[in-house]
């Protein structure tokens, strides 16, 4: 155990697939790859020693998701959403067309412009990490309200994406 660094001990508690999902979650909430990494690192450092106390994996993930969300919201409050722009050039890797990667990050930035709790609700819903009941509990709302929130979030995201297509049209 002692061979782990400060955050090494925490990241070791999660398989790579789970870490990737948390990274996507942070990215959707912050709209910025660098901020997502920073938020995750800070959150892991903050909850050091607490995560290992959870025996149930879902509880551990919910605990971490809650803290990542709180930190993202704090981060967003101090750095309000900026106009969308490409932040990471991933065009050299992967076998899918590079343009899709660019769309993914632009989508994250559009996500970032959604209000709360719509943004968190939709991000958690799409990441398929938690059940609908768990998402409702995480966001401290009942499932009916979560349903309304998801409906409103989809509509806002659709409008935002339509606006983006309009912007990029010649």
């Amino acid at each position: 155990m002692s061979s782990y660094g400060a955050g090494g001990l925490q990241t070791a508690l999660f398989p790579s697939a789970a870490l990737a999902e948390f990274y996507r979650f942070a990215l959707l909430l912050t709209g910025n790859a660098k901020s997502a990494e920073q938020v995750m690192a800070e959150t892991l450092a903050e909850v050091e020693g607490q995560l290992s106390q959870f025996r149930n994996e879902t509880s551990r993930q919910a605990w971490l998701a809650t803290h990542i969300r709180e930190r993202c919201l704090k981060n967003n409050a101090s750095a309000p959403p900026a106009a969308p722009r490409l932040l990471r050039d991933d065009s050299e890797t992967g076998d899918k067309p590079a343009v899709l990667k660019i769309e993914a990050f632009l989508l994250a930035q559009r996500f970032h412009l959604l209000p709360e709790p719509e943004r968190s609700a939709l991000a958690l819903f799409y990441l398929e990490f938690f059940s609908v009941e768990e998402i409702a509990e995480l966001l401290k709302m009942d499932t009916d309200l979560l349903s309304d929130t998801l409906g409103a979030a989809r509509q806002l995201l659709q409008e935002s994406l339509r606006g983006m297509r309009g912007e990029s049209a010649p």
């Binding site: 925490q10 990494e37 892991l44």
Partner: protein, 254 residues
């Protein structure tokens, strides 16, 4: 189940999910309701598209190592108080506290400097500027020996300020200040100091008894006032408040 409750449930349907229980009923309901079915199909198509795009986001290959490195950083930074102080929120809070302390200090100072009879005492301090020195009866004594001389001048109940004990007195007089209020005065051969003594009641002065010296100025003169029972001692010389403070520090403690 009606269309409304089915729609509420279907908003929480994830593409690819196996519908069970009430969700299964809602999906079946939507299959029979063209309008709801259209909405549901559009929703699942949109959701699937977004999920595909989101899952195309690949974290940096070395995410685990990056997080290990980055998470060690903030902990080290947390300890730096200087860095926290640069935080705008922290700076604002500090400025707020400083302002508040400043206001409190100002109010306390104002309340300390305002006292009943202050105008008359300042007027009395102003008389020093008009003196030539010839007004005094010459004498060589100390403040604690002055009582008999002052009594001869019709000033009753003289008390010597203990801090001035032993200092050389070179002149004395008793005079009447505005509306016949008697004032005893002595010239001390140190720092060209003048000592005034008067009855607090005569001047309507009310200071905390035996409190510290209170400083006041009149033109180029500075005075230090203190009350002891009904007696007020006023020390005066030409100079500033800081000079008076230095002088008071040089006196033996009362």
């Amino acid at each position: 189940m009606n269309a409304e409750s089915a729609e509420t449930l279907l908003r929480c349907f994830r593409p690819g999910q196996t519908a069970e229980g009430r969700m299964q009923k809602a999906v079946k309901f939507a299959e029979q309701d063209p309008e709801l079915r259209k909405k549901f199909d559009e929703q699942t198509a949109f959701d699937q598209q977004i999920i595909d795009v989101i899952h195309y986001i690949t974290p940096p290959e070395n995410l685990r190592e990056k997080l290990t490195g980055l998470s060690a950083q903030p902990r080290a930074e947390k300890k730096g108080l200087g860095r926290q102080m640069v935080n705008p929120a922290m700076l604002t809070a500090i400025m707020g506290v400083i302002c508040l302390l400043g206001v409190i200090a100002f109010v306390v100072k104002e309340r300390m400097e305002k006292f009943a009879g202050r105008e008359d005492v300042e007027g009395l301090l102003g008389t020093a500027a008009k003196m030539s020195g010839a007004e005094f009866e010459r004498i060589t004594t100390t403040p604690e020996q002055l009582g008999d001389w002052l009594l001869m001048g019709n000033y009753e109940g003289y008390e010597s300020p203990p801090e001035l004990a032993g200092l050389p007195v070179v002149g004395w007089r008793v005079f009447y200040y505005d509306k016949g209020r008697r004032v005893a005065q002595a010239a001390i051969d140190k720092h060209e100091l003048l000592l005034y003594e008067f009855h607090a009641n005569d001047f309507g002065v009310q200071l905390p008894i035996d409190n510290d010296w209170l400083l006041l100025t009149k033109d180029e003169w500075v005075g230090a006032l203190r009350q002891r029972s009904d007696h007020c001692f006023l020390l005066a010389f030409r100079g500033s408040k800081s000079e008076m403070q230095e002088f008071l520090k040089s006196l033996p403690k009362k």
